[in-house]
Symmetry: C2
């Protein structure tokens, strides 16, 4: 009964054409890109502007209806699964570039905008937005902000957080606040901008963002280095950075990933190698040339058996595409693909890769590893079948051990994918009880009724990460 | 009476030699670099380690004793004035570099370390810590973290916040938490690291920090551009950025500041000019040369009457020193120097400088303006005499009008100096009631007894900024 009341109130706000609660539409938004998490929302709502978002939040607060803000659902932490039902909020009516300011080097956007569309638009004007999550052709800026998305260029350029200058946010009480501005510096009070970025929809709803742009790098060069030995590849990563070179991209693929990606993308990856590094440098031509020569030397010094410099932009783009398609390629092999995100100090990646292989063997599960080696951000990816309960339990145990190993090496349970529902049981490994309590106190201060994306980030009792 | 009890408990923790409550020592720590704010603490305490800090916080929570963490007191917002008494916490026993990690490019430090000492140490190893507040030879890292200090290199390199990878923090309840790590990426929960940085001692006490380093730029070149007209100087700033060049430093000095600085520093500044820009670029030699040539052209194009490229590092250092000594030089002229920090989008600096001059004239007060033009971060500095109550009232009104103007231009009340006690009455101008409420809810969640640096950031009733 009460369902009908709040639904009618929301329809009054957004109009019937922006409200759906058919079984079909509820089903479509009952899951995201994360395998094995599913839960039906009560409705799907598309507000047309910030004021409507605020009104919706007020209604949801009154009727205690959960709100799950959602971009394109490409996240890998069950961050947008409607765990507790409620409404899924879509931003299909709020996806404009509001302004490109070429004097202040900023772009002002609405949350529903596709990341890649924005990148293309600013690059036309010689401007550059560095964060490049692999999903950027599908993902939205709003989703990237909520998850503080990373990408391949994080090593040199940082992540989404580092490019957010200001936000418009609807808080869980319906209040609309504006943080920051087109400002290189602003210390007026606490850094709410960065508190909201990466808050996974649990503290508020971002309705507008001012993003920082930088000049497009003059040129880019791409190297492929091939190794017979994982350690050598990992040591090359440390060696490059310790030589005071910060490449724009420094990606690692292990043997099983290489095989699968090559079958999928056919760009000529060496399928007999144990590991490859995909390295890029960008910047002024003279500098890039010098850096690439030096990187090449260092790769050879660290026993690379082959070092190829891409001869054309097409060849480079092929290599990049191959790396970006790793998840899609792996996903073809088995019914269920679980991609993880353990991250360690970059000096520890050799140890971490070794540990992953040891753990996979111990639990007899198939794990392929690739990732942003320069950031210490690895994506061990398990190919499994969610219908095989016994195997899933082994997968579960293997990942728990991988997380513990990452923490022991000074790392974290998630470098760029977020906690969501999936990794919430493990958050305590990184933060301890005192750290979680500090975060929970912020959550409760902002959202006492726990209407904003409930069931995310903070742990449930059981440590089941994969549920069928 | 109860004073004696908590004092004895704190002496038990830190030892008598690390506790002072003589009138002399209380007087010494009753004020900071901000004119006209003074209040006596009850005691001055020097903990020896994190555990002692935690124990002190627990005692203070029990007896409701305010805690004011203090670096070297160089802040300009009355951020470390013991407004409500209590204890001043000094970190003279916690000032070590704990580790320089050349593989992960990090430095781990204690809060009492002098910023410049750390910079010197890492530069010996070819590493670079970009944040360079003008006070860096005196200021501590702990103070820089609490205030999220900026500096001259902020335009290209960002501010303190952008170089903090992890913190150890004692929360107001005495709990010790660790955030982040030697990690390029970490999205395990809310960004407590950046919430704590810039929190001005109101949310917790930083006891250790892992800072990010980058390779030292190969070379630096310095330009001095001289203008007959403030607008031309301001337009040059926009023109350089719009030409897709991001200099490492882009400083502005107006006529009155130039005069005073030249008398003080004697580096040959042109005292007949209306404005000068001090511009630096760093990086690989070829790139710096190209950028500097282009910047020179742009300055001339924007009507600079003279453009000098520093011929030697000594000459460049002289110019830098001149800029850094602006506050000291101005402070010699009148008994009271009030340096402000209004910040606008860089496209608006011409308008802002014009507004400052108009407002100074309107209220018949003497304001010299200099600052980080590339960041839109201006430091209008009023030379006055705190004993002249009538003049002070005019100063007060002038600054209020300057803040309102900055906000109207899309700016903020403070770019890098913080809110503290001094600017707390104006925070609402930037944030509105809803923004302040959001921040207050975090403050209350972390520190329900309001023991951490009370009387800072959040407004009192009256709007008196200057109190004698």
């Amino acid at each position: 009964m009460s369902d009908r009341i709040w639904k009618e109130k929301i329809i009054d706000i957004v109009g019937r054409e922006n409200f759906q609660d058919s079984n079909e539409s509820r089903f479509v938004y009952s899951y995201d890109a994360t395998p094995n998490f599913q839960s039906l929302p009560d409705a799907v709502v598309c507000p047309r502007n910030t004021e409507e978002v605020s009104q919706i939040v007020r209604v949801c607060n009154e009727y205690l209806v959960p709100i799950v803000p959602r971009g394109s659902g490409t996240n890998l932490c069950a961050g947008t699964c409607p765990t507790k039902g409620g409404i899924v909020l879509l931003f299909s009516n709020m996806r404009s570039i509001l302004e490109v300011d070429e004097e202040n080097l900023t772009v002002t956007v609405q949350p529903g905008l596709i990341t890649f569309d924005m990148i293309e638009e600013v690059e036309k004007r010689g401007l550059f937005y560095p964060p490049d999550p692999s999903s950027m052709k599908i993902s939205t800026i709003g989703g990237n902000l909520m998850e503080n998305s990373g990408g391949l260029r994080g090593l040199k350029y940082g992540v989404t957080r580092d490019y957010v200058l200001g936000l418009e946010v609807v808080l869980p009480n319906g209040a609309i606040i504006r943080t920051g501005g087109k400002l290189a510096k602003d210390v007026a009070g606490y850094d709410l901008t960065r508190l909201l970025v990466g808050s996974e929809g649990t503290l508020g709803i971002i309705t507008e963002a001012i993003l920082k742009l930088i000049p497009v790098p003059e040129t880019t060069r791409t190297i492929l280095a091939v190794y017979e030995n994982i350690e050598d590849a990992a040591n090359t990563v440390s060696k490059i950075i310790a030589s005071r070179i910060i490449p724009s991209t420094l990606e690692f693929l292990d043997r099983s990933t290489i095989d699968v990606v090559e079958q999928f993308a056919k760009v000529g990856l060496p399928t007999d190698a144990e590991a490859i590094l995909l390295i890029e440098q960008d910047g002024p031509l003279e500098v890039v040339k010098k850096d690439i020569d030096r990187i090449r030397e260092l790769c050879i010094q660290m026993n690379a058996i082959r070092v190829d410099i891409a001869k054309s932009e097409e060849e480079a783009e092929g290599l990049r595409l191959a790396r970006r398609s790793a998840l899609s390629a792996l996903a073809r092999l088995k019914p269920t693909t679980i991609l993880e995100d353990a991250t360690v100090p970059r000096s520890e990646i050799a140890k971490m890769v070794r540990a992953i292989n040891r753990i996979a063997k111990k639990y007899n599960v198939q794990i392929c590893t690739f990732g942003h080696a320069g950031d210490g951000n690895l994506h061990p990816t398990c190919l499994t079948d969610a219908r095989n309960q016994e195997e899933l339990e082994r997968v579960e145990k293997a990942f728990e051990e991988i997380f513990i190993e990452a923490i022991n090496l000074g790392g974290t349970i998630t470098g760029e994918h977020g906690v969501g529902e999936m990794k919430s049981p493990y958050l305590g490994l990184k933060l301890g009880e005192t750290g979680i309590n500090a975060m929970l106190s912020i959550k409760m201060a902002f959202d006492p009724n726990n209407i904003m994306n409930p069931g995310k980030m903070f742990a449930k009792d059981e440590k089941k990460r994969v549920t069928v």
